[in-house]
């Protein structure tokens, strides 16, 4: 008898050494399924806090269920419904998609080129020198120099012209001390107007150079 008691005590010590109960139990079927659905929809990236709450809640519920009659059923039900609710919210958020913040764009007001050329006018240097200072103050950012034209002329010509103009601005920035490794250049031609090309003012707004922070 003493041996049995002793063995039971030993078994008890070992059993109480602490473990997290399995989540593969029927009361957690819905929670498991919803967590997996949310994960597949990208919740770990798009809704990390909600997905984590759901998963931790599921482990907690599994533990409480494992304790059986030691806990009131309502307490277990609350844990399960809370985990399920969080998983549903995580799924809904993930389904909408991860909203990426809009990239920061600095429009270089006052940068002009000779007509149909990529040569910068003399009046452009003041703006570009300010851009150089800005980039030197923010050494951790990389930028794309993006150039745009209005819609007059052929699209292919405008694309080529904008590519050359973007490269011209990048060359200026590099020549004045900005590391080339931080810069790239790209022309968008007439594809991204921000005003009406039917008016003189609209076309002037569309001819522009921007710094797009990556």
């Amino acid at each position: 008898m003493k041996r049995i008691v002793l063995l039971a005590a030993c078994a008890s010590i070992t059993a109480c050494s602490g473990h997290i109960a399995s989540t593969q139990v029927s009361p957690l079927d819905d929670v498991r399924a919803m967590i997996q659905k949310a994960k597949d929809a990208g919740a770990e990236k798009c809704a990390p806090a909600l997905q984590a709450k759901a998963v931790a809640g599921m482990y907690h519920a599994a533990h409480e269920l494992d304790e059986g009659s030691a806990n009131p059923a309502s307490e277990n039900d609350d844990l399960i419904s809370s985990a399920l609710s969080n998983a549903k919210k995580a799924y809904a958020k993930a389904k909408k998609g991860c909203k990426k913040p809009a990239p920061e764009v600095i429009t270089l007001e006052g940068v002009f080129f000779e007509t149909n050329k990529a040569d910068l006018t003399a009046s452009s240097t003041a703006t570009l020198d300010r851009a150089v200072k800005t980039l030197q103050k923010r050494p951790n950012i990389n930028v794309e120099v993006a150039a745009h034209t209005d819609s007059r002329g052929k699209a292919s010509y405008n694309l080529d012209l904008s590519n050359r103009r973007a490269a011209s601005v990048m060359d200026y920035l590099v020549a004045h001390g900005v590391a080339a490794s931080r810069l790239s250049s790209k022309g968008y031609g007439e594809t991204q107007p921000r005003a009406d090309n039917a008016t003189v003012q609209g076309r002037a707004k569309n001819r522009r150079v921007e710094l797009r922070i990556k």
Partner: protein, 86 residues
């Protein structure tokens, strides 16, 4: 003597489920260390680590120390996957 041997084996099995450090440190200390380690980290694994640490503290408050340690160990696994503070 046999009784002592059996008890010693049981205790060793119990200790074997946790690392030496986690056996020595309190759940509170480990929760504090985890919070510091994950400061500013908003990844999924960082959030999960913090949630599991909260469960561990709740279990500890109910005097279920062994379960608290188990949840804390799982929290620490996720903290390691989260890659620390950001």
């Amino acid at each position: 003597m046999k009784r002592f041997s059996l008890l010693a084996i049981a205790l060793l099995m119990s200790v074997g489920t946790a690392s030496a450090a986690s056996w020595m440190d309190s759940v509170d200390d480990r929760a504090d260390a985890l919070a510091t380690q994950l400061k500013g980290n908003n990844s999924y694994h960082a959030h999960l680590a913090r949630e599991l640490a909260d469960v561990a503290m709740e279990e500890k408050s109910q005097h279920d120390i062994s379960v608290a340690r188990a949840f804390m160990a799982k929290a620490e696994e996720n903290a390691a996957q989260a890659g620390g503070s950001k």
